[in-house]
Symmetry: C2
Subunit: 380 residues, 2 copies
């Protein structure tokens, strides 16, 4: 079969899937399509394996023939999602409902060549696929850098010091399978949208705080990447413009110096002369006033950045995730909110949900799966 469903087929698959168990008669009523054409499409979908006749239902109290209840066959195709991180690669294999069938981890730390990187990606994908390759709908990849989602071209990945790689084509032609690539944080946002804490959200800003800080945007229900694939690179935002530093050139790029793993570590080292890891910093928050002050300053700037995001974009939800944002979510939120409550008027703040990234370190790989799912199967 071709994976391009017609509008009516899509509609019926979507309904069968969301309703769980539904009869042809109900499908006809819900779609407004005639009974014959529903039967027609259903038998086609059954032939393809997309849906199955699961069981016989009950007649209504008024009598009548018992309905044949249809059910979505989530395992008739599989999707691979890949999170290419600066330290590790995670590849997952899921069915069409996003259930994780297999998971593979690889070390990527220290990789600096295009060949080594593509090789490890090939390996991860190869190893994670435990089903017939013909059953794979596609591979969705999130990479730490600027990418063109339409072509799968990767412009720049600072973590690997690599530029201008047509990664989409490379992976796609190697496996003979559709491949989609986008920025990891953006993909993470998509993951939370479809399988995480942002289900049914239209306008989402996901802030990933790890070594650095970046945002992924879902606007009007779709990925927003900007005109040069740089949207959400808020590591460069400015929240500290004042008399002391306005004279120095090129201030662009100091937001993440205030609040990110790296930023906090450097500030602790500069101001206190301590060589602490991010985890140690958080562990010592309540023990050291000095560390807490640095952390509070960071929260203040984080709050300013978020306030500006709220002002400009009026999102429905803001998710904090990433290595630091996910693990230290409660701590960050506890000290972040008081600042936000001062900066943002309550009638605006109350409309915005704050949430922890539910998917944790699987956010990007799950988002990769969503990328393929939404573009090659069904946009839910």
């Amino acid at each position: 079969m071709s994976y391009t469903l017609s509008a009516n087929e899509e509609n019926i698959v979507r309904l069968v899937r969301t309703r769980g168990l539904i009869s042809r008669a109900d499908l006809s009523r819900e779609t407004g399509l005639s009974k014959p054409i529903v039967s027609n499409i259903v038998s086609k979908l059954i032939n393809e394996g997309a849906i199955i006749e699961k069981e016989i239902g009950m007649s209504s109290e008024k009598g009548g023939k018992k309905p044949i209840l249809l059910s979505f066959a989530s395992t008739y195709k599989y999707i691979v999602g890949v999170d290419v991180g600066g330290n590790k690669l995670i590849a997952i294999l899921t069915d069409l409902d996003g259930n994780i069938i297999n998971k593979v981890r690889k070390v990527t730390k220290g990789i600096k060549s295009k060949n080594a990187l593509t090789e490890i990606i090939f390996q991860g994908i190869e190893e994670v696929i435990t089903v017939d390759k013909a059953m794979i709908l596609g591979v969705g990849i999130g990479v730490p850098g600027t990418t063109d989602i339409k072509t799968g071209f990767v412009y720049y990945m600072p973590a690997f010091e690599l530029s201008d790689i047509p990664l989409g084509e490379i992976v796609s032609s190697h496996f003979g399978i559709p491949v989609m690539i986008s920025n990891d944080v953006t993909v993470n946002a998509l993951g939370e949208l479809s399988k995480g804490s942002a289900r049914n959200i239209k306008d989402l800003c996901l802030i990933a705080i790890g070594t650095g800080t970046g945002a992924g945007l879902i606007l009007n229900g779709s990925i927003y990447s900007g005109s040069h694939n740089m949207a959400g690179e808020i590591g460069y935002m400015i929240t500290d413009w004042n008399k002391e530093n306005k004279s120095r050139n090129r201030t662009f790029g100091n937001y993440e110096s205030w609040f990110s793993g790296n930023g906090l570590e450097i500030k602790v080292k500069e101001k206190l002369g301590l060589n602490l890891t991010t985890k140690e910093i958080f562990d010592n928050l309540d023990k050291s006033r000095d560390i807490k002050e640095i952390f509070l300053q960071g929260c203040e700037h984080l709050a300013l950045g978020i306030a500006n995001i709220i002002t400009l974009l009026d999102p429905q939800m803001i998710i904090l995730t990433g290595g630091v944002g996910y693990n230290q979510y409660d701590m960050i939120l506890r000290y972040l909110m008081p600042f936000l409550e001062v900066i943002v008027p309550p009638e605006i703040l109350k409309n915005i949900s704050f949430s922890r990234g539910e998917l944790g370190d699987l956010g990007v790989s799950v988002g990769g799966v969503s990328l393929i799912h939404d573009n090659y199967f069904l946009k839910m």
Copy 2:
């Protein structure tokens, strides 16, 4: 006829319109549709009056029958666009190509009641329509406030001290014509997108600087309003967070105090004790160092806000317009850019076009026309 064209009809109308003069054979080639179905659709569209057989073209050098060249009949429907401002109302009547057929101005200053406002809107629309009402496709309105574009509901218009008016329904039921309503700045952005300086732009941020300051966003080619219809209310953005003022509560809302007509007037009064109009401030920029300093400070904050917008949204174009932004565009840009060049790295700044709102004070009304055009006729 119904105004809902099928996908193929839309395609053909779009082609006829953009190509100017085109034959059925060419349409068939360009759309990939067969010649018969093109002839079929064309004759239907001719019947409706949407296109006409304009003239006979030339055969190619190799001979062959001369083509009948088709042309778009832009006057087969008309659209009304309305700019409801705090001081004045502008209503325009255009054909489908956006050519302005008629224009009406009304004074709205001092209006504080719902009835007075709807009455003046009714009058403006009534007076501007000089064609058969049956030829009107719809009325698109931009109002200074928060609105729901889907329902035409107006939540709050500070300029008139009015809240919670179902203006869309009110106007629509009065004239029996489709009505769409959105925020004036957003509508202005749409106007510049379709008929102004942002043609073919996908991601646009229009900054309207007048009495206050607001932004209108077009993202992924569509209006972006946010989840609570507050997107782009950058008057509340923060660019001046520092030790001096961080202690005061509720800082949210000081961006436009730095750069807007009102903001500049107030600063000049506070700091210099002068009661100058915005125009007088600009006229005296090169004569008074004190005024210039205030202006420069304003530009600095404007630049910071724009830098943050660039960081977050990576737009393709930034338009300055509005009473002040349009009239003082050159002056503002001259002093704004040096700040931006310091704040934003050149490799990023060079990708972003800055432009004056080409439509001037017709931006909102033209945008209102686009609103109807795009939603009830053709999204170009």
